[in-house]
């Protein structure tokens, strides 16, 4: 099994956030997140697509795709920070592409595309781990340094 590629400096800064995600946070615990790549401006994680998030037709509901993208986008913002700071999602766009069945495993790759003052732009995609089929693409904009006023993000 390939070891995850985690930049030591970035990984150390993110240790607290990753601990929340993997141990103390029920939503992320249910996704069984595994890091594949973590470096400045880039994060790749694999995760489960649990039955809990199925839609009316037996597929994975789009809401789970957005939850995953928002989460990994938020982590990607963290990788760009010299010190952890609260962040908030300003807006998020998600295109839903191929369908996935619950029980499958997916990979979400996100990259910081730009930063201007305290606003960070992130984009990325979600693919099936087994086939590489593209499930969703997304783009999000995040405010850094919200001093506890963060609205619904992984910050």
């Amino acid at each position: 099994m390939t070891e995850p590629a985690i930049d030591p400096d970035v990984g150390a800064r993110l240790a607290k956030a990753r601990a929340w995600l993997s141990h103390e946070h029920s939503l992320f615990r249910s996704l069984n997140l595994k890091p594949i790549t973590i470096k400045k401006g880039k994060a790749v994680f694999s995760m489960d697509l649990p039955d809990t998030f199925a839609d009316a037709h037996g597929g994975v509901h789009g809401g789970l795709k957005t939850i995953i993208l928002d989460s990994i986008f938020g982590l990607t913002v963290f990788t760009t920070l010299s010190e952890l700071a609260p962040i908030a999602t300003i807006n998020l766009h998600t295109d839903y592409l191929n369908k996935a069945k619950p029980g499958m495993r997916a990979i979400c790759a996100a990259e910081c595309t730009a930063q201007r003052d305290d606003v960070t732009y992130v984009s990325g995609d979600l693919k099936l781990e087994e086939t590489g089929a593209l499930l969703a693409t997304g783009a999000g904009v995040f405010m850094v340094g919200t001093h506890g006023l963060a609205n619904g993000s992984v910050s």
Binding site: H25, L27, A56, L149, N151, G152
Partner: protein, 143 residues
Amino acid sequence: MTMEVRTPDAINAFIDVSPIADWLGASVHEDDEGRYYRLKFDDAHIGNPLIRALHGGAIAAFLEFAGQCEVIDAVPDARIRTINIDVDYLRSSHAADMMARAAIKRRGRRLAIVEIMGWQKDENQPIAHAILRLRIGENSSDD
């Protein structure tokens, strides 16, 4: 006055067969302004354990589900598939129930565009706004 009313059969059926509705704790209500949807708060909806704000993705998922219910009610026999969603986060959220009201802005034979507004304490101070685009019709499912 707020009360739980008899939900249209199509929405009831949609909620019943949607496991994510259970995760969201989604329910349908009606007040003087019309139909609205409620997310019953659960710790699983938290995005930030320190400040206990709702997860942005959970907010988006709830707004999407509310928009889907609205279209299901308008076109009960059609299959629907979300094309995409845009969510703007307008204010801080809290560890509490969230409500949403959805309005179909345009419905054609193949496409529906729905605007959804989400709030917690005060509908006049929404925490999130979404535009949802749905493919509707016999071929909308990607099964």
